[in-house]
C-alpha cells in the first residue's frame, strides 16, 4: 500500500480506473468503515474522475443510481451513507452523481429543493449544513450549485445568499468560511463559484483576487491554499478553478503544475496523493484529474470549473456558459 518511488510524466489512466474500482472492495480494512459517513462523496469523486478519464462505465450505472436513492431521506436530503443523517454536502453530491448518470428523475426533486431551501437562514442569507446549524460558505456554494443544477434557484432568496457571501470577502480579495475568517483557496472556490452561478462575478475584484490566487503557486509548481502552507493537489484544483472562472487561468505556470500533479501519482497501485510521496486517495485523485482537465491535458474530457462536473453534463443540462460575465 505504500506509494511508489518512481514517478511518471503521463497520466496513468488505466491504473487510476482500476484504483477507483478497487475502492469498494477494501471492506476488510477498518478505514473503509471509518470513512463510511462520506461514502456518497466517494462515489461522486470516483465517478467524476472516471467520467473525465472516459471510463464512466467502470462503475455499474444501475448500482450507482440505486445506491444514491438509498441515501435519500423522507425530508428530501441525502446522507453520506445509508443510516446516516441527511446533510447539504451529500445532497449536492447525490445530485451531481445523478446528473452524471443522467438519472435525476430517479429521485424526488421537489423534496430536494424543499430540503435545501429550508436550510437558508432568512435573516442573513447564509446556509446551514444541516439542521444542527453549522454555517459556512461551503454550504452557500452547495445550496446554490444544487438548486442551479435542479433549475430551482427561485426557491431561495438569492440576493440574500449573495449578501452573506460578500460579507465573507476579505481585504486581500479572497473569501473565508464566515465573515472575518481568513482567505482560503477552498472557500474562495466556493464563493467565486457561487457568485458565478448567480451571475454576480462583478462583485469580485478579479485582478486582486487573481493575484492572490496565482501567488499560491510555489517553486515546485504545486499550489497551496493559504500563504506559507504546503502545496497540495486538492488546493491546486480550488485555486485553478477559481482562476478559470475569473478568466485568468493562464496566470498559473501550466507546465510546472502538470509536473507537480503527475508526480503525485501512485505509479504502482494507482490514485493521486496530496503531494508526491504520500498515500493516494480518491479525493485527491479527482481533483488532480480535474485540474489536469482544466489545464487541457490531452485525452481527458473537459471539466466545468463552476460545478466541478464534466462539461458535457453541464451542457446536457443546458447550463453551459450561462455563468460567464
Amino acid at each position: 500500500m505504500s506509494s511508489s518511488t518512481t514517478t511518471s510524466n503521463v497520466l496513468l489512466i488505466d491504473l487510476h480506473v482500476k484504483y477507483i474500482q478497487s475502492l469498494d472492495k477494501k471492506r476488510d480494512t477498518l478505514e473503509y468503515w471509518i470513512t463510511e459517513h462520506l461514502r456518497l462523496a466517494g462515489v461522486y469523486w470516483g465517478l467524476t474522475a472516471l467520467d473525465l478519464m472516459n471510463h464512466v462505465d467502470a462503475l455499474d450505472r444501475d448500482d450507482v443510481i440505486a445506491y444514491v436513492k438509498s441515501c435519500q431521506w423522507p425530508n428530501g436530503g441525502f446522507s453520506g451513507h445509508v443510516n446516516h443523517d441527511p446533510h447539504l454536502l451529500y445532497t449536492l453530491y447525490a445530485v451531481q452523481i445523478l446528473l452524471i448518470e443522467d438519472a435525476i428523475d430517479a429521485v424526488d426533486v421537489d423534496k430536494i429543493v424543499e430540503y435545501v431551501s429550508d436550510l437558508q437562514d432568512k435573516e442573513t442569507g447564509a446556509f446551514k449544513g444541516d439542521e444542527w446549524g453549522e454555517i459556512d460558505t461551503r454550504f452557500s456554494y452547495s445550496a446554490l450549485s444544487c438548486l442551479s443544477l435542479l433549475k430551482r434557484l427561485d426557491a431561495i432568496d438569492v440576493p440574500k445568499a449573495v449578501e452573506f457571501i460578500m460579507k465573507c470577502k476579505n481585504f486581500d480579495g479572497g473569501f473565508g468560511s464566515t465573515p472575518g475568517a481568513e482567505s482560503h483557496a477552498g472557500q474562495i472556490f466556493c464563493c467565486v463559484g457561487a457568485l458565478a452561478i448567480v451571475n454576480s462575478l462583478h462583485l469580485v475584484d478579479g485582478d486582486l483576487l487573481g493575484w492572490w490566487l496565482c501567488e499560491r503557486q510555489l517553486k515546485n509548481g504545486g499550489l497551496n491554499g493559504r500563504p506559507q502552507k504546503l502545496e497540495d493537489v486538492c488546493y491546486s484544483w480550488w485555486v485553478l478553478s477559481a482562476l478559470s472562472i475569473l478568466g485568468k487561468l493562464h496566470w498559473i505556470n501550466k507546465e510546472k503544475l502538470f509536473e507537480f500533479v503527475l508526480s503525485a501519482q501512485d505509479t504502482e497501485s494507482g490514485g493521486i496523493a496530496d503531494r508526491p510521496g504520500d498515500m493516494a486517495d480518491v479525493f485527491h485523485t479527482v481533483f488532480g484529474v480535474a485540474g489536469l482537465s482544466l489545464l487541457g491535458y490531452p485525452g481527458l474530457k473537459l471539466v466545468d470549473p463552476v460545478y466541478c462536473l464534466p462539461k458535457h453534463v453541464i451542457q446536457r443540462r443546458g447550463l453551459a456558459e450561462r455563468y460567464k460575465v
Partner: protein, 302 residues
Amino acid sequence: MTLSPYDLKSNYGDVTPIDQDDGPSPIAPIAYSTEYSTAMAYFRALVRNNEKSKRALDLTSDIIKHNPAHYTVWNYRQQILFTLDENLTKELEFVKGLARDNPKNYQLWHHRQVIVEKLSDSSKELEFINEVLDDDAKNYHAWSYRQWINTHFNLWDDELPFIDTLLKDDVRNNSAWNHRHFVVFHDLDAIDESLIQSEINYTKEKIRQTPNNISPWNYLRGVLEKSSRDIQELESFCKEFTDNDINSMGWLVDIYENRAKNGDDQAKEDAIKICESLANKYDTIRKAYWEYRKDEIAAPSS
C-alpha cells in the same frame, strides 16, 4: 476503543443490535467484525428505539473517540445531552480531550460552539483555543471559532497582545495577520487617524524585519482601505527593499500605475520596467501575471 464486545453484551443485553444495511450492491452488505462495527450495530438499535440514556451517551463517546467524523453520532449525542440535561461543562472536557488528536475535525468545533452558546459561558474558551493554536498556529477551525467567541461574548481585550506574541514567534503567520485585521477594525467607530498610523507603523516594522513576506503587505493594503490615505505615500518605504522583495516591487508597480493614469509618463516607464524584471527575473513563475499588468499599463488610456 474501550468497549469490548463483552462489555457491549453486558450493558446492552436488552438491545438487539442492527447490522449495517449497506444498500444495494456493489455496496452490498458483507460481514465485518470489529469492535467498532459492533458498537455501531448497538448505536443503530438505540437510535431506532429513540433511546436517550446515559448508556447511549457513553456509546456515542466511544464511537466518536474511534471515529470523530461520524456526524450522525454527534447529532444524536447533542440530543441526548439536552434531553438528559447533562452537565455541559463536563462536555467541554470531552471535547477538549478529543481536540488533542483531532484538531481539524469539523464536528468537534461546531459541537463546542453549540455547547458554549447554550452554557453562555466563555471562561474556558480562549485557553482552550490557545492550546490548539499552540500546536498549530494556523488551525483554520480554531481561528474561526475564536472570532465567534470574540463577537458573541464581546471579548476583545486579550486579542492584540495575543496576536503580537504569535507574530513575534512567526511573522509569516497569515492567520494571525488576518485576525489582527478582524480585531483592529471590528469597531468601525473606533477607527481614526492615529489608529491607522499606528497600524501602518507596526506593519512597516514587521516588513523591515523579514522581507519577502506577503501577509503584512496584504495587511497594509487592508489598513489603507479603511482610511482615506493613498498608496502613493508608501513609495519611499517600498524603495527601502530595492530588488530583494517581490512584494515591494509589486507595490511600486501599483503606485506608478496610479501615477501613470494621471499622465505621468516617467511613472509609466518605471512601472513597465519593474513588471518586466518581475516577469523575467524575480518572479518568473508568475510571468503571465506580470505581463498582463505590463500590458494594462502600457495600453493607451481611453
